[in-house]
């Protein structure tokens, strides 16, 4: 039972990080039909912005995190949209897939070449002690991750559902043409989505890097899992991404502990194939009429 609780908490923490990346993924798809194959690299890169700010700028860790966030918003939000997505979007979904695959290679190789090829320690913004709950020992780090992820998702949901801008963004996602007719500045709304995605991946990066260390190859699994989480939950729903992310995190931890550590990476993929064949709209998603 103690093991079970420990694994569950660890799984929810990993799942929370997956969910953050998956939500960004879903938002980009909804508002601009962007399938970001570089999403994993987007989670990998912000940690290096922070490390670079500390190493080159000599600033303190909290200041470096702030710089990392701002640079992420600029580079992974604004520049990504302007330089990579906008010029390719008119050609359709497939060229954009190719372009983001190239972007993933670019980011990975650039970090490797200009920063470091080996794993870099990344400071944690919180205590790394363990807490005893009954007979189970739970790391405080995991609890903090869960708390931060919950708050972030809660704020995002509040923003999307209860504010004027958030509702305009939803309208844009549902029907861009009609939104434009109603006077919603669609272009701005799409840009906001990219900025929110950049903020989410930066947050995920700051949460995941203290555990796994910052390394240029980190994005490979993260990006895949984020996508699987989005599909499994339901590609057209933010809450689908949350469900999918948490589910994958928990399953991943239980499989590694109880079934097979060698094949833990295969489980999300199996889940993906099963969901696509049996229930393509995802566990909580609604059927999408677009894919004719």
């Amino acid at each position: 039972m103690a093991d079970f609780l420990q694994l569950l908490v660890a799984g929810l923490a990993t799942g929370g990080i997956y969910a953050l990346a998956a939500i960004g993924f879903v938002l980009l798809w909804q508002t601009s039909q962007t399938i970001n194959f570089a999403q994993g690299e987007f989670v990998m890169v912000p940690a290096f912005f922070v490390l670079a700010a500390m190493k080159l700028g000599g600033v303190s860790f909290p200041a470096a995190m702030l710089i990392g966030l701002v640079v992420s918003l600029l580079v992974l939000g604004l520049l990504f949209k302007r330089l990579v997505v906008d010029p390719v979007l008119r050609h359709g979904v497939l060229p954009l897939v190719i372009s983001t695959i190239a972007l993933a290679i670019f980011l990975k190789e650039a970090v490797k070449e200009f920063y470091a090829a080996d794993a870099q320690p990344f400071p944690a913004a919180w205590a790394t002690t363990n807490l005893a709950i009954g007979s189970a020992v739970v790391s405080a780090q995991n609890l903090v991750i869960i708390a931060v992820a919950v708050v972030a998702v809660g704020l995002l949901q509040y923003f999307l559902n209860a504010t004027r801008t958030g509702r305009r963004m939803q309208a844009t996602a549902q029907n861009p043409g009609l939104a434009r007719i109603l006077g919603i500045p669609v272009e701005h709304m799409i840009l906001y989505t990219f900025l929110i995605n950049a903020a989410l991946v930066a947050l995920a990066s700051f949460l995941v890097s203290p555990i796994y260390l910052a390394k240029f190859t980190n994005g490979e699994t993260l990006g895949l899992v984020a996508f699987v989480a989005a599909i499994v939950g339901g590609f057209n729903q933010v809450r689908g991404a949350i469900v999918g992310g948490l589910l994958l995190g928990v399953i991943d931890n239980f499989v590694a502990a109880y079934l097979s550590a060698q094949y833990r990476a295969a489980i999300p993929l199996f889940l993906l194939i099963v969901v696509i064949l049996v229930r393509p709209q995802g566990l909580v998603g609604r059927a999408e009429e677009r894919t004719v």
Binding site: V88, L94, V97, I105, K112, L224, Q262, A266, I276, P280
Partner: protein, 328 residues
């Protein structure tokens, strides 16, 4: 392309002559690269059928190259002849490719990209973990090169000609295929599946067929790859190779017959000429792909075509399908 047929024949003959003469001025490493180019071109031709002609994105090609390579390695190190590996690997890849096509019937584009990506990762995990069969991360060494009707291909030059011969056969078969009713049905599938279906094209069968044939060519490339490098291990067939093959097809020009030849050359040979850039090569290549896709999604051949006809700027589409692609 409206190049006169005679010029085309001449250009083709010159290219073949160049390929035949090329190894004689080169060191063994240069010959190895040319052979690798031939092998990768075969895999890219397969992917071009699936992606370029039938319009189904696939990131599974590395897995089929891996299946082919391991089939060849396991059989030939047990004393079987290489042709047996060709037969078995082609059949195996064809059947698995056919099965992998089923998800393509249900989902499109990005979903399909991730399903096939998952497949590559699953195959990689099996190659790495099932040590009783594949020797896991230690890989398989001492893969022999074949004797073809008494002609030993032990030397790099001989093996290069063997690869070139297989490439020639594959090219001829593909050339025939894309001009056959099948190839036209593939194109119809890409351009407008609903119209194709209303014209009587069995879209279901042709989607599966496009996957199966493309995958079989991946398997054939793998069978050549194993005796070329003579040592194989799982990481060679991980996702990186799938991405690399996909970029080859796109950079060369998806849906053009010559696209894979050009794309494989850019991907295999160019890094050697750009040695001086050291680690920057992949960064530059990635940037180049991003710019190319933005400027001209139909690749280098599409770009060349557009430069030849500056009047028609707006339509970089590959050759449109003929009408009445149906009954076959």
């Amino acid at each position: 392309m409206k190049i006169p047929p005679r010029a085309r024949v001449l250009a083709g003959a010159a290219a073949v002559a160049l390929l035949v003469a090329a190894p004689f001025g080169l060191k063994p490493y240069g010959i190895y690269l040319l052979s690798l180019w031939a092998v990768m071109t075969i895999a890219a031709i397969g992917l071009n059928l699936t992606l370029g002609y039938a319009g189904q994105i696939s990131l599974a090609q590395a897995a089929f190259v891996g299946i082919g390579a391991y089939t060849a390695a396991l059989l030939t190190t047990q004393g079987w002849p290489l042709w047996a590996a060709f037969v078995l690997a082609t059949a195996l890849s064809f059947v698995i490719g056919w099965l992998l096509g089923y998800p393509a019937l249900r989902v499109q584009h990005h979903y399909l990209a991730f399903v096939t990506l998952s497949f590559t990762t699953l195959v990689f995990l099996i190659l790495r973990n099932e040590e009783w069969l594949t020797k896991g991360v230690y890989g398989i060494t001492g893969i022999p090169r074949p004797n073809v009707l008494g002609w030993s291909t032990q030397m790099p030059v001989d093996f290069y000609f063997f690869c070139l011969g297989v490439l020639a056969l594959v090219s001829a078969a593909t050339w025939w295929l894309i001009r056959s009713p099948w190839g036209r049905a593939f194109t119809a599938l890409r351009e407008n599946p609903i119209r194709a279906s209303s014209l009587g094209v069995d879209t279901r069968r042709y989607t599966l067929m496009a996957f199966a044939i493309g995958s079989a060519l991946g398997g054939i490339a793998g069978v050549l790859y194993a005796p070329l490098v003579q040592f194989i291990e799982p990481t060679a067939f991980a996702l990186g190779l799938s991405f690399s093959l996909l970029l080859m097809v796109i950079v060369g020009g998806a849906g053009y017959f010559l696209g894979p030849f050009l794309g494989a050359a850019v991907s295999v040979l160019l890094p050697e000429w750009l040695r001086f850039t050291e680690g920057l090569y992949l960064i530059l290549y990635a940037l180049f792909v991003m710019v190319l896709v933005a400027v001209c999604p139909s690749g280098l051949i599409g770009l060349a075509e557009r430069l030849r006809r500056p009047a028609a700027i707006a339509t970089p589409e590959p050759a449109p399908p003929d009408d009445g692609t149906g009954s076959s």
